[in-house]
Every structure is written in C-alpha cells, then in structure tokens.
C-alpha cells in the first residue's frame, strides 16, 4: 500500500488550514479553503488507485484487457470538484460585498460581530 499519497493529502489539508487560520486577506482565505479541498481530491484518487491500472474508459480499450482504476472514486472526485468550485464562487461573492461594505478584506479589521 502506498503511504505517500495519504501523507501528501494530510499535509496539504493542514497547510490549507494553517493558511486559513492565519490569513490577513479574505481572498487568500478562500484560496486556502480551495487548498484544503485539493487535499480531499488527492485522498480520494489515492484510495481508488490500482497498480498498473489505466482510466476506466472503454472506448479505446477492450474491457478486461487491462486493470483499471476504481471508477466510483473518479466519479466522487468529479462531484467534489464541482461542489468545491461553486462554494468558492459563493464565498468570493460574499468577499466582494464585504470589501464594498467594510472597505477592507482583512479579517483582523472586521469588527462588527463580537461577544
């Protein structure tokens, strides 16, 4: 079992979270969230990998002639990418409005909601 992809996924996730926690710019923070999400892609694809396998598409490969990687995981990752892109878009829309209303995108300077 290959350990490297799992370690990479964990590392990317933690780096993204660190960036989120210490961010001084909301656009950077949304980018960090996208980084965290890439960690999920790496993990999902690592889970589905089979040694020597190729893409599970049979338009040019005869079924059964070669091992293929797990198609379910590929489908899950596709769904995940779409979900992530749309959530990022929504977050950026909120950021645009924050910059207009607050005049800043620095989270340290947003003082409206405390206590």
């Amino acid at each position: 079992m290959h350990v490297l992809p799992y370690l990479v996924a964990t590392y990317v996730l933690l780096v993204g979270c660190y960036g989120l926690a210490t961010s001084r710019n909301l656009i950077h923070a949304v980018g960090c969230l996208a980084v965290c999400q890439s960690a999920t892609y790496v993990l999902l694809l690592a889970v589905g990998y089979r040694d020597g396998g190729t893409a599970p598409v049979f338009s040019d490969v005869r079924p059964g002639s070669r091992p293929v990687v797990d198609p379910v995981v590929q489908a899950l990752t596709l769904t995940d990418i779409v979900v992530g892109a749309t959530v990022t878009a929504l977050l950026l829309a909120l950021t645009v409005q924050i910059s207009k209303r607050h005049g800043t995108v620095d989270p340290d300077e947003l003082r409206e909601l405390r206590g």
Binding site: A55, P56, V57, F58, S59, D60, P63, V68, P71, V72, Q74, A75, L76, L78, T79, I81, V82, V83, T86, V87, A89, L90, L92, A93, L94, V96, Q97, K100
Partner: protein, 204 residues
Amino acid sequence: MRASLSRHTANTVASVNFDQRAFDTMGEMTILFAAVLGCVVLLRQARDEHRDRPEPSEVAVPVRRYALVVLPVALVTGLYVIAHGQLSPGGGFQGGVVAATALHLLYLGADYAALERVRPVEAYEMGDAVSASAYLVLGLAGVLAGTAFLANTLLPYGTFNTLSSGGTVPLLNAAIGMEVACAVVVLLARFLDQAVEIAEESGE
C-alpha cells in the same frame, strides 16, 4: 464495472455519475444551481449603487485575432466533450465549462459590450433553470412509469461505444452540459458586472 458494461456505457465514470449514482449528480447539479442563484442574489445591485456604461479599451490586434479564431474551435470542442461523455473521458460538467469559457474569449478579444450582445443574461439564467428542471423531470419519468426515480430502464441501451448508447445517460449528460454552461456564463456575468459596471452612488 460490470454494471456499466451491462448498460452499454463505455465510459464507466459517466455510468457511475449518470446511472448508478445519478442521485448524487442530481444533488451536485443542484449545488451548482444554488450557488449560482446565490451569487446572483448576493451580487445584485444594492440600493445605493447604479450601473455605468463600460468603457471600451484597447486590445492588441494579435490577441483579438487569436481570440476570434479560437472561439469557435473551443465552443465546438466543448459541445463535442458533452456529446461524447458516455464514450470517452469528459461529460456534461467538463464540456459545459469549456463551452462557457469559450464564449468569454469574446470579452478578452473584443470588449465587454460585444460580450453583452452575445450573452443576454436573462436567457442564460432561464436556460440554467430549464435544464436543471429537465434533469429532474427525466428522473421523475422513472417514477411516473412505475419504476424508480432516475431508473435507466426506459430507453434502449443501443450499441456499445456509439453516440446513442447508454440509455438515459446521454440525455442526462446533455441536460447537465447545458446547465453547467449556462450557469458558468451567468456566474461570470455577475462577477464581471461587479467589476465593470456597478459603481457606488456619488456623494455617498
């Protein structure tokens, strides 16, 4: 794998997405729809804002030529990817994004006004909603016919590795492709509006 081959769908990933786990894809399409609707709502013109006419700017001639040449190629590529989703890598999501961004080459190559002429946003919003509803209606057809929601048992499976194989997979694929393309166009339109057109009232 056996399941997708039994339904004559060569691209097993597409089979998983549009046949075996079509319910997930329905949810995912709806998330895209909801996020775009959310962006439309969040990026609307506020009470204290107005719209300016966008100013045309100079575009270098090579860029303009390149954009105008590549645009039809990219558009056709996008449509190709959508149509062959059940056969080769690709599908509604991927093809839809390619087609939508192809349209925006017009913005890069010409200017915002040209883009607006080609892209009446209301039509795209309606297209987005109609194709999303179409996917759901296709699913409902299963229930109305007495079988399950999103059952792929109503249409013939066709011959393996041809354009019409897979039963309802190509139909759902097409619905998704159209939905994604329209949704991405609307999304970019809203963000571009914010950047280019909407400005605060003077004398704030």
